[in-house]
Symmetry: C2
Subunit: 339 residues, 2 copies
DNA sequence: CCTCCCTTGTGAAACGTTTCATGAAATGAC
DNA sequence: GTCATTTCATGAAACGTTTCACAAGGGAGG
């Protein structure tokens, strides 16, 4: 309603030129304090609100960065979001969160929109990593992009990742230690790099020492895990994801299969809810917030460097957290035992 | 890099005026198909990307809506996000997600930015509802706003909510039915309307029939719940939130207190993880996605109606889901009993 | 052949900023 | 009192769109 059309009105009210108002806004030290005050007053009296479109148009690019996640519903990613927001806030940059929902089409559309907005930079965990993707185009046209939770052989961009191969190996070693001979990997689709790497990791660890099968899932959700549980026929399960693991746990329990006595489970991500699960879940922990923080730092650095910039690849080490779901059946809870 | 400066370049390449290019983009039926094709070709050859800032500047407002949530980390809100995204997508509108983190300052800054961007509309669960807040100003200046998960006495805006008083009552009745005489409400801060209403609801149900105490928390997180558990001295707990409930469950377990034998717990929201908890959690269920969907529909409707618009208030009914955490101590799991 | 209308395409104005070259006034040095 | 320098303020151009009044050309109807 009272959108009093900007700077011009303010200028008139304060009795100065629009250039001066702009200066008050952007380089206040250039304007005499009395004038400055007059302008400031006019601004508050009029309830003037800067028009960002005009600003951006002039500047040629936005002042925000985007974070495109695979699944907002996954606590892993919400923690990444928090990390990114924290880092961005320190630099006075705003993060807009986009959700691809593991859907390449939506990711594509998001990138279209973001490019139209001349977004300053993009943090993304891409749905897949085909070489001629929409993403490549974006990079090619000059938008800084940092890959999140995904290593990158290519050197056309920065990346922040956790060593998923190692994560898979850790899980594998652990399950072997527990004496398991038939292990199943649950997760999918294989188009997601994390899924492939985690699978490759455990395959490597297990090779020749135990039997490894796979139950593929259409996505990485609790529901998918629950469904997958029906097909599990092994003494240990390694899930691509804690959500899947939680689902598998529910599914197995429903089938009357006890965890960990009959089947052990190891998840991935160590989300907050893993520890609170019906059977506290063993899981491969990733530094989730750190991931977001570092990615943002890298992106801002690249934006800063503008011209020449050395792309960097940061890799974090995962850590296996062992809880009841994969421990040897123990009797260490007297309260329960004694009743 | 190859940001070939827009429409003008395209026009030159296709040998037409810029007005024509604009027409191809916005009202293709107005331009002869041969010309149209020529322009389209030029666009792809040049890799032209529309400049949204310029578009917005001309239009006077953005074509996106914002969703400001209290806590991205809370599965309740991520489900609301999903609902909102789904509804928005059907209308070709993009949703930008902002996280206030239950921090009034951040909420304020987000609204500043959003207003500068002339955001088309805002869905928000405000941190608090003081009458002269930043939010009021936004509404006053003409931005359509829909309150999410919060009823509104005022008629200056639409709202979508779940009847939290009823939710509290349901929890209260249930716990009374189970014979509890000393009940504690855990949650805070009281500045959050939901917290107040849920508390008021159970207080109403319990009044005169049992003793009700309160353990306040600084926010609605698992950690806060865990900490609050130390102060609990009652036979039943009603938590403002499933996150808090999960925390309380952990904290009590750590103290060697059994749930539900020693203390019953009822949560709120019925997030996906509630059912998967160490002790499956009783919880007051809200139609989370529905909330997001409806809010978005209302907002789009208001944007459509533009001039005269009748503000509406949609209220959903919550539903109590009873699980183990508040059942009478049962022995219905033979597998466990028998070992 | 003249008129009228319809289809296509044009050019310029406007949206609200920022920036920059320029100018005016004030200050200081001599 | 003059000149050089510094401090402030100005006006116009530019950013890339969309929109709108208008013009040019082509048919159809008379």
């Amino acid at each position: 309603m009272s959108n009093t059309t900007g700077i011009k009105e303010v200028a008139r009210r304060a009795g100065v030129s629009i250039g001066t108002v702009s200066n008050v806004l952007n380089r206040p030290e250039l304007v005499a304090s009395s004038t400055r005050q007059r302008v400031l007053d006019a601004i508050t009296e009029l309830g003037y609100v800067r028009n960002d479109s005009a600003r951006q148009l002039r500047a040629g690019h936005s002042r925000q960065i985007a974070l495109v996640v695979l699944d907002v519903t996954n606590p892993f990613f919400t923690d990444v979001v928090r990390g990114a927001e924290a880092a961005a806030e320190e630099h006075g940059v705003m993060v807009v969160v986009c959700n691809s929902g593991e859907d390449a089409g939506r990711e594509h559309r998001h990138l279209d929109l973001l490019e139209e907005q001349r977004i300053r930079g993009v943090l993304i965990t891409p749905v897949d990593e085909s070489p001629n993707s929409r993403l490549e185009l974006l990079i090619q046209r000059g938008t800084p992009v940092v890959l999140v939770d995904r290593g990158s052989g290519r050197h056309s961009r920065c990346s922040v990742a956790v060593d998923d191969l190692l994560g898979g190996r850790l899980a594998g070693e652990h399950l072997l230690d527990q004496g398991h001979q038939r292990i199943t990997f649950v997760g999918g689709p294989a188009s997601i790099t994390q899924v492939r790497d985690r699978h490759a990791g455990i395959a490597e660890a297990v090779a020749g020492r135990a039997e490894l099968s796979v139950v593929p899932t259409p996505n990485l959700t609790v529901a998918a895990g629950r469904a997958a549980a029906a097909e599990i026929d092994a003494t240990a399960v390694f899930c691509a994801n804690d959500l899947v693991a939680l689902g598998v746990l529910q599914g197995l329990t429903q089938r009357g299969i006890r965890v960990p006595q009959d089947v052990a489970i190891v998840g991935y991500d160590d989300i907050e809810f893993a520890a609170a699960a019906a059977v506290p879940l063993s899981s491969v922990r990733q530094p989730r917030e750190q991931l977001g923080r570092t990615a943002t730092a890298l992106l801002l650095e690249e934006i800063e460097d503008d011209g020449r910039h050395e792309h960097r690849h940061v890799v974090f080490q995962p850590e296996l957290i062992v809880r009841e779901s994969s421990g040897r059946p123990r009797t260490r809870r007297p309260a329960r035992k004694g009743r």
